[in-house]
């Protein structure tokens, strides 16, 4: 079973502060890993795609920490590095994976978009994970484990019909699944107003699914809402639709951003790392950052030296 590498101190008094510290560690780790990945891509050490979570860390961290890591299930998509690190803190496994090395969490076979560890599964084809998540929720319900399933999806992915099929079934069969929409207002290069008619906030309501909408600039806020929602889903064994407004600070993948400088600058003001870093003493922050920087540097170096997977590691038939 997984445990948080940086698990909150049991000391109740320091709980809030400790949580903030834990969140900052996770968020900074995510940000820094992804900056490294973009650099490595630019230097030619990575091929394929790299969709970063930069700007969305508060959502990833807030939501994942509200789960019971010992049993809850996560499905996610192409933009899952943040959730993965918040889930299991496996920096080495992620960097190795994306660099295509056999030290990667999936031996380098899956790459950035196809990651799996313990109860987390990602897939790079939009939409299809949603019924998978509903199926997982059904399985756990039948097994009686009390686990809930969360599935992350993007605003653009709300274009896929299978999402609505899944809403209907999850509600009809009262399944404990949290549909977690990260609405960053853009899909690849296309702004939301060219993707959608009406409001995304209400899309699940017509299937009798309780819904809520929040901003993702403050990790503590996301966390507390997520805790509430997760409890509800677990207790009532009913689906919930949580609409989280976030900002995609980086390019869609690698370096393809066609938004204006002004737009990106204005988004940067919502950077959730800014907000949380203000609430930590500078000294502590520096200490945290330094440790993480070293850790990531070491992970990158290790991945550089690691071997690529071989044909014998591929399954056939």
């Amino acid at each position: 079973m997984l445990t948080l590498v940086n698990s909150p101190s049991p000391d109740q008094q320091n709980m809030a502060r400790d949580l903030t510290e834990v969140f900052y560690r996770q968020m900074y780790t995510i940000r820094k890993v992804e900056q490294n990945l973009l650099d490595l891509f630019a230097q030619g050490y990575i091929t394929g795609t790299v969709h970063t979570s930069m700007g969305q860390e508060a959502c990833d961290v807030g939501v994942v920490n509200s789960l019971d890591r010992s049993k809850d299930i996560i499905f996610s998509n192409h933009r899952a590095h943040g959730q993965f690190l918040a889930y299991c803190d496996d920096v080495e496994g992620l960097i190795g994976e994306i660099m295509g090395k056999e030290t990667g969490v999936c031996l380098g076979i899956g790459g950035s978009q196809h990651i799996h560890r313990e109860n987390m599964y990602t897939n790079g084809v939009q939409g299809g994970i949603v019924p998978n998540a509903v199926g997982a929720a059904l399985a756990e319900k039948i097994k009686g484990t009390g686990a809930i399933t969360v599935v992350f999806l993007g605003d653009g992915t709300m274009g896929e019909g299978v999402v609505y099929e899944s809403f209907n079934i999850a509600s009809l069969w009262s399944l404990p699944v949290l549909f977690l929409l990260i609405d960053n207002g853009i899909a690849q290069s296309t702004p939301k107003h060219l993707e959608h008619a009406g409001e995304l906030e209400t899309r699940a309501m017509t299937f009798a699914i309780d819904s809520a909408s929040i901003e993702a600039d403050d990790v503590n806020k996301v966390y507390s809402t997520a805790c509430e929602v997760v409890n509800k889903v677990r207790e009532h064994s009913r689906p919930f639709f949580l609409h989280v407004k976030a900002a995609r600070l980086g390019p869609h993948s690698k370096g393809d951003d066609t938004r204006s400088k002004e737009e990106i600058e204005s988004l940067k003001q919502k950077d959730p790392l800014l907000k949380i870093s203000e609430s930590l003493p500078v000294g502590l922050r520096m200490e945290i950052e330094q440790k993480i920087d070293v850790r990531i540097q070491t992970a990158v170096e290790k991945a550089m030296l690691a071997s690529h997977p071989g044909l014998e590691q591929l399954r056939r038939v």
Binding site: I73, L107, N123, N132, G135, A136, I142, R315, V317
Partner: protein, 321 residues
């Protein structure tokens, strides 16, 4: 279902008293109400749920009302079911079965009569099975869901009313069974008693079996000796067993229900040529449906799909080479 509490059934209209469009699931929802789910008309999600359940250790079996609708599950089959087992670098098992009735002959028309399995043949980490009435379909279904792989399980509509033919001898027809690498049966029929070599080897599967009984009987009367090989596993193809069965036979006829272009028979034929080219009298003949939609009008449909007459005339054609 009795034995495995993880077995789950889902599909459209499968609850009693209806029990599914072809009544295959009849009685099960009454016996196992907690594990039989009638679904909305959402084929992509039916497949997607099945995959998700299998990922979490259940053994789900989904019914698609008509094989034609498997198209709606293509993304789940190709990019989800078949990928999860291969792309995470682990040894995950993903036992799940998508059952569906296929084939023509009932006048259902162009979108309810197809045999679309060729869409998924050769897909890595995905199995396709098509029992005939010379094996026990229920046992094979249990075998599939007890195994490791996501599986498409094809039930030819015209086999539903057929009586199973599991005896070793039935009139002139002898039946032997081999087992392939995944332990699925490869049935070999012959219409002659002794150890002689057949005049023609027929390779076919699924619903074609229904036609082979009468055809082999009739040909026995005309003293045309046939060995017919009917693998249950279409993909992966138990080619070693098929090659061993056809070894030394000088004429080969490959039959499938769909149109032969780019079909199951293309692979079978190519692989048999690979093994036997140079030892054959004439080319390998492949027959199947006409390269058109399957019409609703039944008399025309009969001309389009494979029939006893078509097989017989193919046999005579091959004999004349």
């Amino acid at each position: 279902m009795e034995k495995d509490p993880n077995a789950i059934l889902l599909g459209e209209d499968i609850l009693d008293p209806y029990g599914g469009a072809f009544k295959v699931t009849k009685g099960l929802s009454t016996k196992f109400p907690q594990r039989v789910f009638t679904t909305p008309i959402s084929e992509a999600s039916i497949a997607g749920l099945t995959v998700g359940m299998a990922l979490r250790g259940m053994r789900p079996i989904a019914e698609f009302m008509f094989g034609d609708f498997i198209t709606l599950a293509a993304d789940q089959i190709v990019n989800h079911a078949a990928k999860y087992m291969g792309m995470y670098g682990d040894q995950m098992k993903l036992p799940m079965v998508l059952r569906t009735p296929v084939g023509g002959g009932r006048g259902y028309g162009p979108t309810h009569s197809q045999s679309l399995e060729k869409m998924f043949l050769g897909l890595p980490m995905f199995h396709i099975l098509a029992p005939s009435h010379f094996v026990h379909p229920g046992e094979i279904l249990v075998q599939a869901i007890s195994g490791s792989y996501p599986t498409l399980f094809l039930e030819n509509k015209l086999l539903y009313p057929e009586v199973l033919k599991l005896e070793q001898h039935s009139g002139v027809i002898n039946r032997t069974v081999h087992f392939d690498e995944h332990n699925y049966p490869v049935v070999v029929l012959s219409n002659f008693p002794d150890k002689r070599k057949a005049d023609i080897a027929i390779v076919a599967y699924g619903g074609i079996s229904r036609l082979l009984g009468p055809v082999l009987n009739q040909l026995a009367q005309e003293e045309i000796w046939i060995t017919a090989c009917l693998p249950v596993s279409l993909s992966p193809l138990p080619i070693k067993h098929i090659q061993a069965t056809t070894e030394g036979i000088k004429k080969i006829l490959v039959i499938e229900e769909a149109s032969p272009a780019f079909g199951w028979g293309s692979e079978v034929s190519a692989a048999l040529y690979d093994a036997h080219a140079g030892q054959l009298d004439g080319p390998i003949l492949r027959i199947g449906a006409a390269n058109s939609v399957i019409p609703a009008s039944k008399p025309l449909e009969e001309k389009v799909i494979v029939s006893e007459e078509k097989i017989l005339s193919a046999v005579f054609e091959v004999m004349a080479w």
